[in-house]
Symmetry: C2
Subunit: 254 residues, 2 copies
């Protein structure tokens, strides 16, 4: 059977206006959509068959999508944000790698999107305007000591830190520990941005500080951006609190 | 005079298909486009007045844009990639902060886009699939010792590293130094991705290794992604070299 094609498509933050034209084009052409249920629900208009799965089933989802494409279907694997950032592109490419040439005829591509950190940052200004990192706090696939060592390293190096997968029911304490590591290297007044469901119904973006942030208000649908020592917050137009990290970094010797 | 509005809009990698609908909407409505000349050229169809500037004039550009908006115009500041990542959103928000309420009536917003690291990563698979950072190698606004300290920190913490502004005529040696720091912590076979002009005419994406990469082939229009110790490259569909960083990180004790 001749090979079909498979695109891992990033929906961006969630609203249709934040999708790229390339993403819309692949969604419109698809015969089959594969993804986590709530992400499939973000794709309103499509006659494609929807293959829903649970959140943890990345590998089965990737194999199903590749099998459908190998059978000649036009498949889209739906991801929120950018599919390359803690999302489905890795699972698909890893499955390709392990498949021993089985999907050789499939036309595979990744259609990038606006990642959650960029979307949340845009709501408050430009907290990612200087060197930053994106870390996942999940220890499902990564030992917690590795997470802590990375937090220590980027805290000491004064990078802005965007935390993905900040909490779950199984590990409610980890965000508090992560913030404590960062607070050991940064002032209590350091701005913290909590972007929850940005671009979706009921979105909220909160600006707080390392001293005031309550990890209990954060859930898995939130991205947490912690400023560096140079990140600033101020009251600006429309009564909003704006946050930015200046492009200029002070001389280490001054 | 009643306030106009200003959006700092991310064009994404450059092709119209990689722009969001929200970006297109603001570009179509704009009376004035402000930006670095080559980025303005990426916006093909628009009747707006184009205010071109050189690359280094971020602050003048931000003030011009805010002045136009304060005078009632519908202004778009054009940025490549995501405007919040080493781009114009910071300059605009910093100017707002320093303006002492002068632009209080201006409706300011940031429209996020696909950042260069995501675009380059998508071309080869998912090298950013695990913890990563985005660092600018420019020392125009940041002392070089800070850059080196950050490289040492993220190299030791085994983050994937995306390097923005990797070289310029004034500092041709810095990328070689950065790669040497990373190579001290990672195998010679570590995949390196060079994405040049991704999404634009004549784009190239090259997959090489820390041992083989030639800094002399890299220019300012390239984003450089250096894998972690777990990043893998392999020959996959369509004879392409694919790169990904697995979601699973090996146990530090094993």
């Amino acid at each position: 059977m001749s090979g079909g094609r498979l695109a891992v498509v990033g929906l961006g933050p969630g609203d249709a206006a934040s999708r790229t034209a390339a993403a819309d084009e692949r969604l419109a052409a698809a015969t089959d959509l594969v993804g986590y249920g709530p992400y499939l629900d973000l794709v309103a208009a499509s006659d494609a068959i929807r293959h829903r799965s649970d959140n943890r089933q990345e590998e089965q989802r990737a194999r199903l999508a590749l099998d459908l494409a190998a059978a000649g279907r036009d498949v889209v694997v739906v991801s929120s944000g950018d599919p390359g950032v803690f999302a489905m592109a890795t699972a698909v490419v890893e499955t390709l790698h392990r498949s021993d040439g089985r999907y050789h005829d499939v036309d595979v591509s990744v259609v990038p999107g606006v990642t959650a950190a960029s979307a949340a940052a845009a709501r408050v200004g430009a907290p990612l305007g200087h060197d930053f990192c994106c870390l996942s706090l999940s220890d499902v696939l990564k030992p917690w000591p590795v997470v802590e060592a990375r937090l220590e390293a980027v805290a000491a190096a004064d990078l802005v830190v965007a935390l993905y997968n900040p909490v779950s029911a199984h590990r409610p304490w980890q965000l508090g520990r992560a913030l404590a590591i960062l607070a050991a290297h940064r002032p209590a007044t350091t701005p913290v941005v909590l972007g929850r469901d940005v671009g979706r119904a009921g979105e909220t973006t909160t600006v707080t500080t390392l001293a005031a942030v309550d990890p209990g208000t954060v859930d898995m649908r939130t991205v947490v951006v912690v400023g560096s020592t140079t990140t600033r917050a101020f009251a600006g137009p429309a009564g909003r609190t704006w946050v930015y990290t200046p492009r200029r970094y002070p001389d280490a010797t001054s």
